[in-house]
Symmetry: C2
Subunit: 402 residues, 2 copies
């Protein structure tokens, strides 16, 4: 069996943890498996390197940032090889050049194009554990690139795909994917299985267990993922194309506080006005999420939409500057809001799911401000203070704890 195991920065933050990871990987190796380990930079290394760069040049070129940041993973993989070696198991660390992991040329946000398997195969054939730097690649200019935050998940999946691994395990500080955030909903349950599509909706919706692109890539190449704890040996959650269980109506419920509602008041009720507004935002790289347009009245209409909290101020300023162009009277900002979403491949064939969610919220007097849906997701905007109450009510209504 060929297994890929990915451990994040906190799992290798110090000597003790490095040895924990080493021992864990050696168990599989001693069973006879071929083992590839993907590591992130130790603890806060990446943040420290970014701080160093900012001190020198707050607007450093991304090409040089990637050159700098790539050192972080190289440190963790070489130390891990030393740890395994001291436990009597042959190991070798490889960086993006040595593997080679080819990416697009876009610095700080590159995507994998091709991964050579030759060097890794060679080392596995020599019965070594192969430890690979996550998060980084090499572009056609022979420069380091990085994949963006959380990119080590993507490295693990890409390696699993390139080498046709039998399993790809993503080790995290939680035991798997839950029906809801267990810190908020006490009876939240760990899922045994979840589909790629459900995981994708959950990942974008604030249940930040897996890096989104890693799930997309896993789906594309049919790499079965296991999300599990680096702290214990409990079974994790399997992410795959089709779940074998009898389909649940919904898989889970997630909350996302990183959102703000902006309302543009009393726009002229004419064709093309909404276009002007959203074209303006798009040109300024502001991603909008849920949109609500009021029915026109007195020749005017209101448009509300949500943006990421970080973009809220810039959005308000932009609209204020272009008030006349977009014919707006007033702009309002609301930040104490949150998105609550249910996700489930089962809802495609069950029209009553959204209604059941709304009823559950109504029963606990949680007001719904906006609604948005996809094939396998229903999202509502509510007051932030209602997150806990809302999550629990939905969790109960769909019997997710059973």
């Amino acid at each position: 069996m060929l297994v890929v195991k990915k451990f994040g920065g906190s799992s290798v933050a110090n000597k003790e943890r490095i040895f924990n990871v080493a021992k864990r990987c050696i168990e599989d190796y001693k069973k006879g498996d071929d083992v590839i380990v993907v590591l992130s930079a130790m603890g806060d290394t990446t943040d420290e390197l970014i701080a160093k760069a900012k001190e020198i040049n707050p607007h450093a070129k991304k090409r040089e940032m990637d050159m700098l940041l790539a050192t972080g993973e190289q440190i963790s993989v070489s130390l891990m090889a030393m740890a395994m070696d001291s436990l009597g198991v042959p190991a070798v660390s490889l960086n993006a050049f040595q593997v080679s992991m080819h990416t697009t040329s876009k610095y700080s946000n590159a995507r994998f194009k091709r991964i050579d398997s030759e060097r890794i195969r060679h080392e596995l054939d020599a019965r070594k554990i192969v430890i690979v730097t996550g998060f980084q690649g090499v572009n056609k200019y022979d420069d380091y690139t990085t994949l963006g935050r959380g990119g080590s998940d993507t490295t693990a999946v890409a390696l699993a795909a390139a080498l046709h691994a039998d399993s790809c395990e993503i080790f995290t500080d939680v035991e798997g994917v839950y029906t809801a955030d267990p810190r908020i909903v006490k009876d939240a349950k760990k899922m045994k299985e979840i589909t790629y599509d459900e995981m994708l909706e959950l990942a974008t919706l604030g249940a930040r267990v897996l890096h989104n692109r890693s799930v997309e890539m896993a789906k594309k190449y049919g790499v079965q993922l296991v999300v599990r704890s680096s702290l214990n040996t409990a079974d994790g959650t399997v992410v795959k194309e089709e779940t074998s269980m009898e389909r649940m109506l919904i898989s889970g419920v997630a909350a996302d506080k990183d959102t703000a509602r902006i309302s543009v008041i009393a726009l002229k009720d004419e064709p093309g006005i909404a276009f002007r507004l959203f074209n303006l935002l798009a040109k300024n790289n502001i991603n909008i999420d849920i949109i609500l347009q009021s029915v026109g009245r007195d020749g005017t209409k209101d448009i509300s939409f949500t943006v990421a909290t970080d973009d809220a101020e810039a959005t308000i300023a932009l609209i204020e500057d272009n008030k006349n162009h977009i014919t707006a009277k007033k702009v309002e900002l609301e930040t104490e809001v949150a998105k609550l979403s249910i996700v489930g491949a089962g809802m495609m064939s069950n029209p009553g799911v959204a209604a059941k969610m709304f009823e559950a919220l109504y029963n606990v007097r949680v007001n719904i401000k906006m609604i948005s849906t996809s094939e396998i997701r229903v999202t509502v905007l509510i007051d932030e203070k209602n997150i806990e109450k809302g999550l629990q009510a939905i969790h109960d209504a769909f019997s997710l704890a059973d």
Copy 2:
């Protein structure tokens, strides 16, 4: 003009120093020169990485040590590129893979085999300052190697040779090469020029200004070196094949405290005994330096020799263990000794030089314990407490301050 400039770790230890180096290189760039900068790891980075490795595995494989240590220079070169960029000058950092700098496969002590000039030429043609990681290379296995301590000097010389640079400047914390250590001999004078051979004798003799291998390589490829201060713009010392000045009798005088004398007493005065002793030491990788054998008397003889201070205890233990085999009665150790050497290409044609040195020492009552000579060097062993007096006497006798 194509110039290579090498700065050590202390020259890039913090933000302020990084910008000092950046500005200094930019001056040449703005004059129209093509500039290649070679950097070591910042400040104590290498020592910190070694400490981290020791914590994980005190006997870490050298292959993994080199993988770890190579990150140090990659951090300094990327930060330097950011600094230059913030000063408005285009710069690009390159590591051993990107250049490529091919070395022998011996980890932690590799030697350059070949340096590709294509990528560097390409970046220079685009009018960028090229910042290259010192100290590291890549071997035929596509693994990082390092050149051993001080290897960044060698990187600079190798690059200057490969790219046919017009000058190779080694920036240090001293202003150049002196006729004697200026901290001891107050009227020591900075030399304008010195030959490769003289520099080699001085480097091995404790005037640790340049890494020895870098001088050997400079000699081999005819790369003219300039040793100068990173703190001011004073002219440094030029190291080249032939000095143009009227030949001085000697160039300088150096002291080396890192030596110990071992005396093996009352060996049998028979053929083959000295061989047994030195063969034993060679087999145990102990380098010996000056050797003195007494004239035989009562069928026995004494042999004294010097070793590096670090090897002294091991040498004593080794001889004690093999006392019978080498027929020794007793072993004595003396550590409070030092080597005093004069160096000068001019002494080849002047037989009286050694005598003049001995006379100078006699005049200040410094006893000579052992003597060793090469074509351009005379070394004597004296009591450590006499270093200052001896250096000054020789410096005066040869009028080095004039």
